[in-house]
């Protein structure tokens, strides 16, 4: 089975940029799923096979931290790794994200090389 990724960001532009950066970094996924907040992301994870999630933090309805908290309590999805991609990279908030299972963080703005450097070892 090929690898699938879920991009979670309230900005459709940013989701497209991340998708483009993955391609430019030479990281190929069979399927790129998208969600505009944590609630939609939980829905996708409940229905689709996803290998890794790239998620923003500051989002409406359900932010990235609440998404991590909710996901960590669901047996069917708690082991799926989540990499945060956000303007929010303060030690406190990233520390909280990591305590809830996030495997790392990339700061916006980012380059395809940076995405490759952080995401590559996780795949």
């Amino acid at each position: 089975m090929g690898k699938n990724v879920l991009l979670v960001d309230d900005s459709s532009t940013m989701r497209k940029i991340i998708g483009r950066s993955l391609r430019q970094a030479g990281i190929d996924f069979d399927n790129i799923f998208e969600a505009s907040d944590g609630l939609e992301a939980l829905d996708v994870l409940a229905k689709e096979h996803v290998d890794i999630v790239l998620s923003d933090i500051n989002m409406p309805n359900m932010d990235g931290i609440s998404f991590l908290r909710e996901k960590s309590q669901r047996d069917d999805m708690k082991d799926i790794p989540v990499l945060m991609i956000s303007t929010e990279t303060g030690e406190d908030i990233i520390g909280e994200a990591k305590s809830l299972g996030a495997v790392g963080a990339i700061k916006k703005p980012f380059t395809p090389d940076k995405v490759n450097e952080v995401l590559g070892p996780l795949l």
Binding site: D10, S11, S12, T13, M14, K16, I17, N58, M59, P60, S86, T87, E88, T89, G90, E91, D92, I93, K107, K108, P109, F110, T111
Partner: protein, 151 residues
């Protein structure tokens, strides 16, 4: 002056890495923009130890070029894509300003971005706020990044 320099560096970094567009500051036009014409403004609110707003005022022609570069399409009207793109520019600038103003970013919360667009409008300064406005030149025109902080 340090804050101004850091905002310039953050803006140049965002445009060079994400928008793939060359920009420069300061602009020969100066940093005061007056009435905004055929412009879209992206706004982020700051709350906590530093309260205020960060705004980016982008002429429509520049906004079309930014969105076109992001999405690989050509535009000639303000669409949801343009609003989303300019909101995201404001969001990234807000994140940078947050880390400039607050070590570890722990003391400041950011709002979600919003945008306003029109043929002619003003953007007023919060009463008593300290304002830093910077004009940037690019091929399609001049845009402004503005930070207002309550004192």
């Amino acid at each position: 002056m340090k804050l101004r320099k850091e905002i310039i560096n953050a803006t140049v970094e965002i445009f060079s890495t994400m928008v793939m567009m060359d920009i420069s500051a300061p602009s020969a036009k100066g940093d005061e923009y007056g009435v905004l014409e055929n412009t879209i403004t992206g706004v982020i609110g700051l709350a906590g130890t530093h309260k205020g707003v960060l705004a980016v005022h982008v002429p429509h022609a520049v906004a079309f070029a930014i969105t076109g570069s992001f999405l690989g399409i050509e535009l000639d009207e303000i669409t949801e894509d343009v609003e989303d793109a300019i909101g995201e520019i404001a969001n990234m600038l807000g994140g940078n300003v947050k880390s400039i103003l607050s070590e570890n970013g722990r003391d400041i919360d950011l709002s979600l971005p919003s945008t306003v667009s029109g043929k002619e409008y003003g953007f007023h300064t919060i009463k008593g706020a300290e304002k830093t406005a910077i004009a940037f030149d690019c091929e399609k025109g001049t845009f402004y990044v503005e930070l207002q902080l309550e004192t």
